[in-house]
């Protein structure tokens, strides 16, 4: 089924070095995790920047589907449908100390 779900990934500037400079990439996947797996198949190395060893979204990465943060839905297991836009945004964070 996931092969029939066509998704557009919005790639942020810091990660475009993995995607040959492309800001938008078409992938397939029925969940966020599937879509990111397909993205990593096309551009090896980007996946580990986004998901940890357990397949969860890294603490300082946010992923939005059509403008909604997937942390407020089902995280990496959030379902996708054809035409969805998945935006990846690394945190802008820091400060004097944690």
């Amino acid at each position: 089924m996931s092969d029939s779900v066509e998704i557009t990934i919005l790639v942020p500037t810091p990660l475009r070095r993995f995607t040959d400079g492309q800001a938008k990439v078409g992938v397939k996947g029925a969940t966020v995790a599937d879509a990111l797996d397909d993205l990593n198949d096309r551009f090896p190395g980007i996946g580990e920047r986004l998901l940890d060893d357990d397949g969860q979204i890294r603490r300082f990465v946010n992923i939005f589907v059509n403008g909604q943060n997937v942390r407020d839905v089902d995280g990496a297991q959030t379902n996708l449908k054809s035409g969805d836009e998945v935006g990846i945004i690394p945190a802008m964070a820091g400060g004097r100390g944690l």
């Binding site: 919005l10 942020p12 500037t13 810091p14 800001a23 300082f60 946010n62 939005f64 403008g67 943060n69 935006g87 945004i89 690394p90 945190a91 802008m92 964070a93 820091g94 400060g95 004097r96 100390g97 944690l98």
Partner: protein, 145 residues
């Protein structure tokens, strides 16, 4: 890989005085919390400053609201033909130099990290840095454009 040559455009970032003053004003408004925001630009030169929300708890940390950031990166910047060229935040009581947390979380390696210190409340200090893979390089904010 595309490493800039020594003496390239990446060595300076001409921050207009009105932006410097806007950052100091934001830092003072937000103290004792840290403030944060971004500067859009073209080809590394600043065009517009945007204040942003700091969603972090406490006074020693900032995290720019990701809901705002996604709008900046994928809507506002592309629509205006600009990109995020700098990220600013304040250090209300510590120096204008990247902390270990700043270095660890510097994911936006193409941007200049501008830090405003209010450690001396009467003499705020604003400095800029590139932070890439743990390396800190100061950039000249007074560089002519």
């Amino acid at each position: 890989m595309n490493h800039p040559a020594a003496g390239s455009e990446k060595t300076g970032f001409p921050l207009p005085d009105e932006m410097r003053q806007a950052i100091i004003a934001h830092a003072r408004d937000e103290a004792p919390r840290e403030c944060c925001g971004i500067i859009s630009g073209k080809e590394g030169h600043p065009v517009q400053l945007y204040r942003a929300r700091n969603i972090a708890d406490g006074n020693n940390f900032y995290e720019l609201d990701p809901a705002q950031l996604i709008q900046f990166e994928f809507e506002i910047m592309p629509a205006s033909g600009t990109e995020i060229v700098a990220i600013y935040h304040s250090h209300p009581v510590s120096p204008a130099y990247p902390s270990s947390t700043d270095v660890k979380l510097a994911y936006w390696t193409d941007a200049v990290y501008v830090i405003c210190s209010l450690a001396d409340p009467d003499r705020p200090e604003v400095r800029g840095f590139r932070i890439d893979d743990g390396d800190i390089t100061e950039v000249d904010l007074a560089a002519s454009s």
